[in-house]
């Protein structure tokens, strides 16, 4: 009798618990760098996510449930990111996870998600491998990858400087070598000639010894993928040595950002890069987004802020189509789904979980990024090379 009562109580409790889980908030974990080198990027991620969650919750949430964001600082360190993600899945019981910045963190957290049978999406990481040879059935990417950025830039270069002589200068590590290789392939495919390439150590202080090879190669275009403070030094020294006169400088989307633009100053003018977002995209949804973002955060959104804002609408669309938050159903819904973002409608390619979107070539002009070219989503995305699912 007593036993039966307890059994009833327990089963009653489980029923009400699961009922609670279905009606309580949907928990979304955010593992992102809130301190350290990438704190500036983490800030944009947080601004974008907070704004999207507020908008979604104000208009009735997702299937009537509110979104709840739980932040963890990953310090741009894959080892820390793994621990924090594990904690969010196991203890925080989050339904979905996003926010990773460093490509290494995204790959590592993707493995944690596979073990926990949950889904993650990155809104920042560029490395092509995340949705190519190292793709995972549990990992989606809503932002543009490095290959798409190269495609947009190569297209712009081919139309403004056809068959140009290009010199490549990259930072001497994985990211630098892969971005140079990717852009070189894209540019040569469109007729550009390579006249030299050289790699400088990360955190290099003096680029002047590298200028000799550039002078002797006489390029019309210099491509670089240095980032952060390295860009500040490289661009300042190139200007000081008169090297950027009569040469078009182009580069990776991370080379000049709103974070180092002020420090580079006038030396950044004329720089062109390929990106998936610019505040000056001429779409009504983007104008609305930029106005609201600036009002809320007293700062302009960059690509990280915009894509992090968009990811919650991606998740919302998938959950509403699946009518569930269960991993398998949501994954099935995410494949091929279309959702609207500040950049317009994006499509999640089913084969490799890479979002397809229009790409832009943007030029720095007195501290502003202005759009100078556009490549359609289909032309920019490149082949699906994921073979894991």
């Amino acid at each position: 009798m007593k036993l039966k009562l307890i059994a009833t109580l327990i089963s009653g409790a489980t029923v009400s618990l699961s009922a609670l889980a279905q009606s309580g908030p949907i928990r979304i974990g955010v593992v992102t760098p809130l301190s350290g080198t990438y704190a500036g990027i983490g800030q944009q991620v947080k601004w974008g996510l907070d704004m999207a969650a507020k908008e979604i919750n104000a208009t009735g949430g997702v299937m009537g449930r509110q979104l709840e964001l739980i932040y963890e600082d990953e310090e741009a360190n894959p080892a820390v990111a793994v621990q924090k993600a594990e904690k969010l899945f196991q203890v925080g019981k989050v339904d979905f996870l996003t926010g990773t910045v460093n490509s290494g963190s995204t790959l590592a957290v993707g493995q944690v998600a596979e073990r926990n049978n949950r889904l993650i999406a990155t809104t920042v990481s560029f490395a092509d491998s995340i949705t190519a040879d190292k793709c995972s059935p549990n990992v989606f990417r809503v932002n543009a990858r490095a290959g798409m950025q190269s495609a947009a830039l190569a297209e712009w270069m081919a139309s403004t400087k056809p068959n140009a002589n290009v010199f490549y200068l990259g930072p001497d590590y994985e990211m630098g070598r892969s971005t140079v290789a990717a852009f070189k392939a894209a540019a040569e495919g469109k007729g550009a000639k390579t006249v030299g390439e050289v790699f400088a150590p990360l955190d290099n202080k003096d680029y002047s010894p590298f200028f000799g090879q550039i002078r002797s190669a006489r390029p019309a275009v210099i491509y670089t993928s240095v980032a952060g403070n390295d860009t500040v030094r490289l661009f300042t020294q190139m200007a000081e040595f008169g090297l950027s006169r009569n040469v078009q400088v182009v580069g990776a989307s991370g080379t000049v950002t709103s974070q180092n633009l002020a420090a580079i100053g006038k030396a950044a003018d004329g720089f062109v890069t390929g990106v998936g977002y610019s505040p000056s995209i001429d779409l009504p949804e983007n104008k609305k987004f930029v106005t609201a973002f600036e009002a809320a955060n007293k700062a302009k959104p960059d690509l990280y802020g915009a894509d992090s804002y968009g990811v919650l609408f991606f998740y919302k669309a998938a959950v509403e189509q699946a009518k569930s938050t269960e991993t398998d159903k949501v994954r099935a819904a995410m494949r091929g789904i279309q959702w609207s973002t500040p950049q317009g409608v994006k499509t999640m390619r089913a084969g490799d979980h890479q979002a397809m979107q229009d790409m832009y070539a943007v030029r720095v002009n007195s501290g502003q990024f202005e759009i100078v070219g556009k490549v359609a989503a289909n032309a920019a995305i490149g082949p699906d090379t994921c073979s894991k699912f």
Binding site: D172, V198, F199, K205, D206, S208, G212, R215
Partner: protein
Amino acid sequence: MSQVLEWLQFVLAPQMINGLSIGVAVVLMALGLTIIFGLLDVINMAHGEFYAIGAYVAVAILGLGLSFWWALVLTPVLMAVLGYVTERGLIQRVFHSKDRHTLTLLLTFGIAVVLEDVLKIIFGANPLRIESPISGGTELLGLFFPNYRLFVMGLGALLIASVWLLVFRTSLGAMVRAAAYDRHMSASLGVPVSRVYAATFAFGVALAGISGVLLAPIYSVFPTMGRDFVLIAFSVVIIGSMGSIKGAVLAGLILTQIQSISSLFISPVWNDPLLFGIMVLVLMWRPQGLFGKLGHA
């Protein structure tokens, strides 16, 4: 033919001038090292950190609202005081021991480790930027060169020449050379040897400090900034003969030219291996270095 001339003018010449501007800075560092070694027989492992402190002193002086030029004048004075105190308070204590070479090497190495961490604690590990006090560039015969680097080259050459005159053309320099040649004999002739030692060490440290200030706007300022730079200076001193002023100047200029010109054909990341390779060869074939020794020159 015109192509060759054009290459010489627009590719080789700027690279050599740039090598010269780096060379002058390297020579300034190497001079301090070689003078301290030539006189005190001390290998100053902390020389790179004194160079870093020079740069940070300039950061602090600029932080007080004074101009870069004040920093350039005040830093060597403050660094000389620091050098004098270090020599009197620390190096003198182990200087008269039988294991002088080992002890001073370990002592200055210890000072280097401590100083680097002190800088980290006070100023943080992130690089700080000093705005270049002279902006813009000069165009000459179709060559474009930053004004500040031209200034560093000019002032550096002036400093090197002054050091040369001071050591070889003044009675002060004669005392220093005498003490280096035979300190017992000099002492009995009335040269205040221990004060000459401290003053020479202070002078070497001041040279490191002024190099730090001069190069801060080019390389930016960070706690480990002395580490790579002092390795180059050490190689220059070893190749040019430990203790030789002429050797430091000539080796410094020749080696930086080799680095600059080779950078046209191979990646500049090979500059350091190239330098160390030359050093190994010199040590194998002419271990005393290419030139003479202070006091014997």
